[in-house]
Symmetry: D2
């Protein structure tokens, strides 16, 4: 199977490498072309523009950094739209909002192409290990055809219906995650201030009904006031805000998410926007010693 791949950041590089490793013919493009070299060493071809990649390949996957990059790669000169046509599929795996996704979908469809949004859950390590969770929505037929590729990039893919549902599912998951991080932070601080050992709390949590990989991974760093950015706090707060906006549209009252969102906003005002979102722990903790 031959696929195009646009965008070779941390995620895109790992994902395209997995495609190569499993025998896919891959034509790659990246804004900074030099980043393509490592992939070429592993057998990839290079396309000089997104349009050139789409022209060459029946299926093109994109993994871009944000909505503006996704729009630019699709709509700019030498972009995807110039070559997309009936019989070709475009699969945007970038994390973008539902509006951006819909706009791209619409234009691809007008040109006769097929579109799938397919944001992923999971970051660098799962991308390298082919263990991503893929939240696809759009053309069901394209989804079915893309499954061989999804299978080597992820451990599980879901088809969620109409375009926008992939983005929404990600928001829901991240909203729950953000509230859990706040609950966890409050518990860690309460333990400490009540004279309990935080490491013991981590051990107890890890044995019980609410044990989960996030607590296990981030807890030990948090109690050391350490927040290496895996998922930046400003992005988590943006997702909380968008999830609350989705709730507003649908008249869903979510007081716990709202309280969590305000804590993330406070963390931003304290200067932690570029730290990992677990830095919301600093908000709960502060001040370390009362005046």
């Amino acid at each position: 199977m031959e696929v195009g791949f646009l965008g070779l950041g941390i995620m895109g590089k790992a994902m395209s490498m997995n495609l190569l490793r499993h025998g896919f013919k891959v034509t790659v493009w990246n804004r900074t072309l030099s980043k393509c070299e490592e992939l070429v060493e592993h057998g990839a071809s290079i396309g000089k523009t997104p349009a050139e990649v789409v022209k060459k390949c029946k299926y093109t996957i994109a993994m871009l950094s944000d909505p503006s990059a996704a729009l630019s790669v699709a709509f700019d000169k030498d972009g995807v739209l110039e070559q997309i046509c009936s019989g070709k599929g475009y699969i945007d795996m970038s994390t973008v909002d539902a509006d951006t996704s819909s706009k791209i979908s619409e234009e691809i469809t007008k040109k006769g192409g097929c579109f799938l949004e397919a944001p992923v859950s999971g970051s660098k390590k799962p991308a390298e290990d082919g263990q991503l969770i893929i939240l696809a929505a759009g053309e069901k037929q394209l989804y079915d055809e893309a499954i061989p590729a999804f299978n080597v990039m992820g451990k599980k893919s879901f088809f969620l219906g109409q375009v926008g549902n992939g983005a929404k599912m990600k928001l829901v998951v991240n909203m729950i995650m953000g509230s859990m991080m706040n609950a966890f932070s409050e518990g860690l601080v309460l333990a400490d201030r009540s004279g309990l050992d935080q490491q013991t709390l981590l051990d107890v949590l890890d044995l019980g009904a609410i044990a989960n990989p996030m607590f296990k991974l981030k807890g030990p760093a948090m109690v050391q006031n350490n927040y290496p950015p895996a998922f930046p706090l400003k992005h988590q707060q943006k997702d909380m805000r968008l999830a609350l906006a989705l709730g507003d549209e649908n008249a869903v009252s979510m007081p716990v998410a709202a309280a969590s969102n305000e804590a993330f906003k406070k963390a931003r005002s304290l200067g932690f926007e570029d730290h990992d979102f677990s830095a919301v722990y600093e908000v709960v903790k502060a001040p370390e010693h009362s005046a």
Copy 2:
């Protein structure tokens, strides 16, 4: 090793059965003596009063329903205090508040006895399977001596220091759990109202960084509006209230726990106090159809 066991409710029965099964000599007592019969069939002896059990055994374990039962068994006529003395240990595994625990500890100690509070994390199934988590605090020596018994009742025991710390650790864990249940409920409702499939959300969650046994166990029942009482909502709300009070004592601000607590209170006002605490989902969901 010979131990006394006071209280044969759902938990106590399962725990004393595990002791018998692993070769402990067990003398049991229960307010309703007929409940002792099944244990006797498996080799237990009967004590007619708590005092008689303590007189006979070097170590006595109690697993009682609430603080008033714990106080009554210790202080009433024919109670533990009448026979406790130097050389004997009393291990109260009931879930009680720190004050109750301290009161019992003080009187046991005055009589020369040793005291350990050892509330557990886990309900019926882990009790039967000997998979409880034991949160012990009090006399370290008694803790060391009790380890063989703890090993057959639980998968892991912790020694947490002075009396009261066991109760506090349980509150911290349950507080995190209560907020997580709210976050989970908000996510389930948001998914539904946004046109996403709830079962798919459960599947996505179960594959990711926040996957945990509680979501996996309770989620499928919740989306069926089903809340079989494993941990009654009124008890969860009481624990949230006590955790917030512990935070108040120590000037720890916990807005997410506070918001969660108010949701549990609303659930009580809706008549769900005796359902499982996952019934807080009803608060988030209501009303099912807007007016």
Copy 3:
């Protein structure tokens, strides 16, 4: 002084009537022209289109129902922009968001005209009594020239600086008001459930440090479950949302406003969006009798 007046809804009619009553020459326009008749009886002239009004008058005031009406009157065929020019001033007193205001401001300015946004605080009664509070922002010189008109429509006007500040000030005030309404509702319900008389609470409040016209006006109706729409709940909730968004932009954490906003969202989901915003009381109260 001669002024144009666009928009004769409840507010606009009362405001233009006050201008006439105080000797202003007023040329009115309304989408439904028949609404102009009453004003004509009191001495007004009629303009057939917004453009005609602007052509005739040095100053034109607009009081339109919402952002889309404000944009339409400015930008559509026969709209304000067709005749605005150097030497003419346009004063938009409609309640619109800062973006809408800025967009209109920009186009007016390009044509050489002067622009002032001047949303008001106060509803029907203060409009009739000339007791509005006017929150103006934009061209300072136009503000100074408009003071005679502001003086007959309002009891006080403020100049707040650059365009957008009028809208923002309104949001801040309405946010405080929305949280106060929630606090008030919680107090009323707590009183009732605790066996206290609600009317007595109203009396006590009215004598103390937090006595205010809103409690006095709306309290007696609320305890009768009566919410005649003076300020519709859906508009109050929209303003809470926009105020929270303004806080988000500026990294201001506002947990009380966030909790209040979620209560208003719950009220929407219960079908109270078109009632007065005091109907958030229903959310706090529900259910009247526990199950």
Copy 4:
């Protein structure tokens, strides 16, 4: 009319002075007797103990600093209980919780005496001006007899039914006040961060539907970061906590009060417990400059 008066703190002194000024014969007692001198200059007699005052007077009023002082004056040696008897009335105007009040009531009643709790709303200035609001509960007949005294100490008195209702009414009022202070603080900070002038916001608020004496009095000091203790923050937070506990008993969900309470707790952790409760503004504001 002859009355006893126990407790000559800031409040008690002002209240007993008003009684003297209006022709009451007053016998005063204070733990530090020297504080009685000023009253004696204005015509008061001195009682050496609470018991002596009660023995001499048909009616005795108490205004003590807190529950433990109230209990001590009633129950200790030479206390009120030693001389209270049929035909005598005891009116406790101290701010105490419902439990303390009930305990005193019970013992007074056992001895044949009549009891009234009558906490007040208002602080030093209203006490001096005879402008307190009196929230009485207990024996209706004693209330009726005490009205001449209430009339000179307060501008209005309420009879609220059974003992405990006075304390509860105060909690409800203070809870609303605490949430309003948070709403106000959030608004002040949002205005400032959004580029609006805070003094203008105060002016706008003071002209509108939510204008109230508290905003007017405290606002100008707050924007100067000035919180002279009229009502200490730790007492306000205690009242929020007790109001939330009252809500818990009655299954009333109060998310806005809960969020406000957490902000007051954060203020305590920042060291503002002895400042005025308006210092919660510091919590919303912090940090002044982002990192």
